[in-house]
């Protein structure tokens, strides 16, 4: 079987970019399956995501050759230097490892685990970490180790425990699935653009605590949720995915919370899908989803 790779590249817009890139892939034996590209007229920047198949040891090409990531990297680095390009190559067979942080509510955790079991999230989930015992049974159903951290010890010790677990389980990315603690700037800096949070409000409105109550008091007619990278500015990191749902003015605050759950879980999973599919580019403090 062929290997599948995804190449992402960003650079200032210039003439001949796509031809140069696609030639480099072709000359290394790659066959493009999917190419999505965007040139921002507002920024003069070029963003590109290419998925390609390439001959592997189990299925070499007619001449017996296989795709060599090392050779490709050498070739592409030269091209990248010329175009002042940032780029990455992902091998589909190497799954990213995601830890899930949770507190007490189960709807986001269930959604992540069910969609993962259904093959819709291209990652591994080796560990679940919580500041409460409540969701241990859910983890058990899905045969994933669950660790409860002791928040009595203080935030610093707590995050040290989390960090230690992330290292132990060789974690690449952290998902906050309604984890109701604020991470320290030290933590988010260390895991820069590697912590994905679901906020139960349509950011940038309704940052911080009790967003549904804020929304109800304001009398908004749609409520939403936002999957975003957590950084040192609370609920202000780059937005990955958002959605809203229409509410009625006859809905209570409690009903906003209930209705919102469906949006939250959907938005979180859609955000994670795009992350693991390498559709997410970050530039000048915002994302560009290229798909």
């Amino acid at each position: 079987m062929n290997s599948i790779y995804t190449l992402t590249a960003t650079c200032p817009d210039q003439s001949g970019l796509i031809a140069s890139i696609t030639n480099c892939i072709a000359s290394n034996g790659g066959n493009i399956l999917n190419l999505a590209q965007h040139t921002s007229v507002d920024l003069g920047m070029f963003f590109c995501r290419i998925q390609f198949a390439a001959p592997s040891i189990s299925e070499p090409d007619e001449g017996g050759k296989i795709f060599s990531p090392a050779s490709f990297t050498a070739d592409f680095s030269e091209l990248a230097g010329k175009f002042n390009m940032e780029w990455k190559l992902y091998d589909k067979s190497v799954k990213q490892r995601m830890a899930v942080l949770v507190s007490k509510t189960s709807h986001c955790l269930y959604e992540v685990l069910l969609k993962h079991a259904d093959g819709q999230l291209d990652c591994e989930i080796p560990v679940i970490i919580s500041n409460h015992p409540d969701l241990c049974s859910v983890a058990t159903e899905f045969h994933i180790p669950y660790f409860q951290i002791d928040t009595q010890k203080g935030k610093e010790a707590c995050e040290a425990d989390i960090q230690s677990l992330l290292e132990q389980y060789k974690i690449d990315v952290v998902c906050m699935a309604r984890y109701m603690q604020i991470l320290t700037p030290e933590f988010t800096r260390r895991w820069d653009n590697k912590v994905i949070n679901i906020h139960h409000g349509f950011l940038p409105a309704f940052k911080g605590a009790r967003p549904y109550e804020q929304a109800w008091k304001k009398g908004v007619k749609l409520i939403g949720a936002t999957a975003h990278f957590a950084n040192q500015d609370l609920d202000q990191g780059p937005i990955i995915f958002q959605d809203v749902v229409r509410v009625k003015d006859t809905n209570s605050i409690h009903e906003f919370v209930e209705i919102g759950k469906d949006v939250e879980r959907r938005v979180l999973v859609e955000g994670l899908k795009r992350y693991f599919n390498h559709n997410v580019f970050i530039h000048e403090g915002r994302t560009f989803i290229i798909e």
Copy 2:
């Protein structure tokens, strides 16, 4: 033909409200066509909108009697006093008169005039006022007087001119259909909850100028518009209607503006419909749309 009335009533929630109200209507000869009611568990408040038909001079009831607004008012006032109720009675045959304020862009004005011509806005539109000459031809197409005010004279003189036109045309409510001037607190206080504005952003996010540019820079995934009452706090008055549309990260700021136009015009007209249908209740700084 029967006359059609709409009754709106708000009061603290109590037992027996609906039976009392519907009895008062029935005993005055009214036949309920439509009743919408909401009790807010969060506020302990009761909101009610009732549309009823009643025998008129042209179609008295079998006993020859007609509905008397004066008698009804006497009866209902007693009941309202008992329940500490705020209420209003609207006669459908008495149309409210709306002035439209515009600047240069035509999409909202066209929408208001086309929907009005199609019978979807239950009001009269006797005058259009602008700080620019550009949309005079649109007004002419629809046979509505158009006045251009001279912003060189300063905001105060300008608003005096507007006020004078509103009085001359016996205006009840003012619609800002992308009127790009900020009204003074004096003006909005005088026309309290009588000025409806369309803001081209999903409030409370993106208040003020250039909301689409703000939204683009933030990388939001949906953009929206908000119809709201204009008051002394810029873009913070009670929200009447909102909607959003999904955008792609490959859209430019310019495309946001283009895409947004459709949302703006739709939201403005939906807000106006609800206003003229007496669905809009204001309580504790927000609206309750009861429909």
Copy 3:
């Protein structure tokens, strides 16, 4: 604590209906919490759903009286006779009992069980029945008995087994949560308007088998799902709830199936919510959802 009742009533439209109904409730000691009513101009029919609180043994009114369903029924029957009304009174403390029929796919079953556990479905779920063993573990997680019927025995024997389980568990309503067998007319007649099915297409288009493949081949731009009562006409029973989701022409048939799952589970649960909240009226072969 007060008891909560829901009254549903349908009749030809006439003058004085709401006042008569609300008076009957008030005179029996009921306090209306919520009233939704609709008069269809196309049919000349009146539909009404009223939720009211009434003094119970545990909380009698000031005079020591309690609401008597028997007295109310006597009073209301007289009124109903006069207006040629069909009506029902539901006591909120008496939960309906729902059986869930499934085959191999879990997404709808999980959704029903998770929403039920979250308190969003006002019913009991005492049994799950399947023609396959696959979902037994899901039932076990939620501590609900699971029975596998043997389809080798033929449809008649199979449905006899189902019927026997439904009787044994005193079932009121049956939910087909992606149960991939067609029920016989005998069965659906016996359970007339008591079997709720989720069809994975936007009915009335794409009836029958493989609706996503039909939709893909037709090149439709939105795919949907439909919760409806199953009757003897395949996928043609009255529609309870529907929703759609936009697809791209770059989606494969397989992706339609994946994307569709989210719509199916949401639509099924929204349909069930309305059913158990007594919002669903059936008239002239279609539903009227009054909420």
Copy 4:
């Protein structure tokens, strides 16, 4: 200024397609602005739309060369032959000419003309043809010739008159903006995939007359509209764009019609936009919108 071209190409999927195509563009001096591509796993077909800028007489490249459509066509034809490719090259400066057919209702015509005036439809509209006089004033507002055909003469003579006007005005494509006559198979065959109709129903459900009444009687919960190519099978030609809007069961048939107007006009314009942007590919009886 550079010239802008759009290239569309379809062929069986093969290795090296994108590199070959982009090289051919680059070697002819083209600079790719935008590339969208799709490989259908269900059909094994490749679809590609590429927009590129190329040096024109007014702005030759550094070496003084300009892009020659003739040379490109020679080069690309060779490549196309090798890959068994269907393709077309569009010069953005050559606008397509669209005739609009209407009957009595104005909402779709207004939308087409307003969006065209706003620069959102990349075509010319040299003529409007109707079987009624009603919309002549709208055409006049926008300074477009309006012709009323005489349906008394019979369908054949009528279509002969239309055909004659289409030839006189050198029309490329015909838009039926709520034109309430059925075209003959002879006409649609002659204008194969060149007649775009707006159907006021969510096809393939509710073909033919009175789709809103059909929808109401069926009790559907969303109503829609469909922009599609008209062919000899009534309302069955390839679908270009669709959308729906949620309705309430308290809406009358008349309200369905009113609500539907907004969907119709939006869907028609979105369909036309995609057509004139060359996003619409037709394969095996359905469209693939590649954008």
